[in-house]
């Protein structure tokens, strides 16, 4: 199977993730969408790595996972504290600062 298809899939996933960020309200879901985008990137890396026959891409994928994990730690901490204060995880509620 032509590896290029995996690239298309990656692009698709990335777009889905981005779209999710744009349309969903719940901070957690937003966050998951971002994770989805990151993983789309991983898929792309791995695919390219396969195409080029060097392992760099796959290793980068591991890095990405680690980074994503770190992001989860920080992100969840922030989102949770926000949730605890406002009793809602909707990002649209958090709009004190504008203009």
């Amino acid at each position: 199977m032509n590896p290029v298809n995996y690239l298309y899939l990656a692009a698709l996933l990335f777009t889905i993730g981005a779209a999710g960020v744009l349309i969903r309200r719940n901070a957690i879901v937003l966050f998951m969408c971002v994770e989805l985008m990151l993983n789309a990137c991983n898929l792309a890396f791995v695919t390219f790595s396969r195409m080029h026959g060097n392992l760099d891409g796959q290793i980068i994928a591991f890095f990405t996972m680690v980074v994503a994990a770190a992001e989860v730690v920080v992100g969840l901490a922030i989102i949770v504290s926000l949730f605890r204060t406002r009793h809602s995880a909707s990002v649209d509620d958090a709009s004190l600062m504008k203009l």
Partner: protein, 549 residues
């Protein structure tokens, strides 16, 4: 070194264990970063083992010592000639040690030192229950207004974690402009961003806004870094490597060894262009360029003011460093593709920043928009794509960061019952109440406005000159126009402070400890010094303006 050898480290992992060649790391040349990150780790341990009472002092001392010694290391490296002659690529091609890197690292470190001073300031807030507190939440985990928070306040807790967090962020900022492959770039970006997200959430007053700022910053930051990462993926796909040098070769078409496997993708410029654009976008987000700027005002307003100052100065420096390296090392071959685009971005940024700022009513938001406008000016220098361009940008960053930190430090002083009085109406007649503070702030504003005899003017002139010589005369004209618009709102603040009668319920100006005083004093000193005698620093920037590749 050849593109594939960069990560030969991992590709050879399949071989028998006894023949793993240990990676060759030039620890000396990475000393600044290593010191800061190490100190950050120690800081975490301090949080774990040192009794609460002693933490504050320990952390402050640790942070200061780390930053100071790191700066000393930078100076030593520069002195040893790594800035010019011996510039090279260290850590198996991951990190460049050259003029721009060292100059920016030095700037970041100095800015961080003074920023950390404002972090440590404990005299502004009235002592709660007999123990002095800084501008960070007593206990970030406790819900605003809850009993637990009051308890924490009563107990006199303070979030001393801010220091290790700041150190981690600084570590990331040190690597960011020095990163010589896209992976390092990405990791550095995250290392500097994540702690900042947290720091934004730690304000002692107006915690709702603080948390909101954190959420916005975090979500948008993560969003942008996802784009960046995808861009990296595409570039990797295009060039088969993430090393700047390798990509540059492929872009130039001067690739050392044509790998048949790459033939398919290397021809595909779409990968290159889209990937480049995405990476660019990730960096433009960090520098706060239009239209990726919208997080800036909200985050700057919500974050604790010391953190805002720190972000506005250090982050910008680091991000522009990375941007410069990307454009000058990786993408010079496709200059004709990205220059027009950057033109548009620069013009948009300058104008939008200046125009929107005109109607702002909150000091911190005002400064946020002004920082956007300044990003535009710096971009004009970036576009020059000449040695002068680089040096002018370096100079501008140096000058700008100190003005910014100083300005935000002054903002922390003007307080009323609700904490900092950031609404402009409250600043009315400040010049009558406390002329000195107002005068200092006026100096910073004039520097922002680029009035001669301030560092702002020297920087602006350098950047515009470079741009004009680089054939971007139109940019200069737009820049001049937007400076005129910008001047208007800086002047407005000065009018407010000096020419309008003070309000009876106006804010008071807190008397800071030597920490904030030092910060402000340094800010003023640098502003005036670079305004009157910029020559030395221009030379420095000029000698440090060649990238190694």
């Amino acid at each position: 070194m050849s593109p594939t050898a960069v990560h030969g480290l991992w590709t050879t992992a399949a071989d028998p264990l006894d023949r793993i060649p240990a990676p060759h790391i030039e620890y000396a040349q990475l000393a600044p970063t290593l010191i800061v990150v190490g100190a950050a780790v120690i800081g975490v341990l301090v949080e774990a083992f040192v009794p609460r009472r002693a933490r504050y002092l320990t952390q402050v001392f640790l942070a200061f010592a780390a930053l100071a010694s790191a700066f000393a290391a930078v100076v030593a490296l520069a002195g040893a000639g790594y800035a010019s002659g011996k510039a090279q690529i260290a850590a198996m091609g991951a990190i460049a040690v050259d003029g721009p890197a060292l100059f920016l690292q030095g700037t970041v470190l100095l800015a961080s030192v003074v920023a950390v001073f404002t972090f440590a300031e404990r005299r502004l807030d009235p002592a709660a229950h007999g123990n002095r507190v800084d501008s960070f939440a007593a206990q970030a985990a406790s819900v605003p207004g809850s009993e637990s928070e009051q308890a924490a306040v009563k107990a006199g807790f303070t979030t001393t974690e801010v220091f290790p967090l700041a150190l981690f962020a600084i570590g990331g900022m040190l690597i960011f402009p020095a990163a010589n492959d896209l992976l390092t770039l990405f990791v550095a970006l995250e290392v500097l961003s994540l702690p900042l997200y947290l720091l934004c959430a730690l304000a002692r007053r107006q915690r709702l806004m603080s948390q909101e700022a954190a959420v916005k910053y975090f979500l948008l930051g993560a969003f942008s870094s996802a784009f960046l990462l995808f861009g990296i993926a595409l570039l990797y796909g295009y060039a088969g490597s993430v090393s700047y040098a390798a990509i540059a070769d492929v872009v130039d078409g001067t690739v050392a060894r044509m790998d048949p496997a790459l033939a398919a993708t290397m021809g595909n410029d779409a990968l290159l262009l889209i990937g480049g654009a995405l990476v660019l976008m990730g960096l433009l987000f960090k520098v706060g360029a239009v239209p990726f700027h919208m997080w800036t005002p909200d985050v700057y307003q919500g974050a604790p003011t010391p953190v805002t100052g720190f972000m506005a100065a250090a982050t910008k420096v680091a991000a522009f460093g990375a941007l410069l390296r990307l454009l000058y090392v990786v993408l010079p071959g496709m200059r004709w593709d990205w220059r027009p685009v950057m033109w548009g971005v620069a013009i948009l940024t300058m104008l939008a920043g200046a125009v929107i700022a005109v109607t702002q009513t909150d000091v911190k938001r005002l400064l946020a928009y002004s920082s956007i406008a300044h990003a535009g000016f710096i971009l004009a220098g970036v576009i020059a794509t000449s040695k002068d361009g680089v040096s002018s940008v370096l100079f501008y960053l140096g000058a700008y960061s100190f003005v910014t930190i100083g300005a935000f430090a002054v903002v922390t002083l003007v307080r009323d019952a609700g904490g900092e009085a950031t609404h402009l109406s409250k600043w009315a007649g400040l010049g009558r109440r406390s002329p000195l503070t107002a005068a200092v702030f006026a100096v910073f504003l004039l520097a922002f406005a680029g009035i001669p005899l301030t560092s702002g003017f020297a920087g602006k002139f350098a950047v515009f000159k470079a741009a004009a010589e680089g054939g971007a005369g139109a940019l200069v004209v737009v820049g001049v126009i937007s400076s005129a618009i910008a001047a208007f709102f800086y002047i407005r603040v000065i009018v407010l402070m000096f020419f309008s009668e003070p309000k009876p319920d106006g804010p008071t100006v807190a008397v800071p400890s030597f920490l904030t005083t030092t910060t402000i004093a340094v800010g003023v000193a640098v502003t005036v010094a670079l305004g009157l005698f910029p020559q030395y620093f221009l030379d420095l920037a000029g000698s440090a303006s060649t990238f190694v590749r």
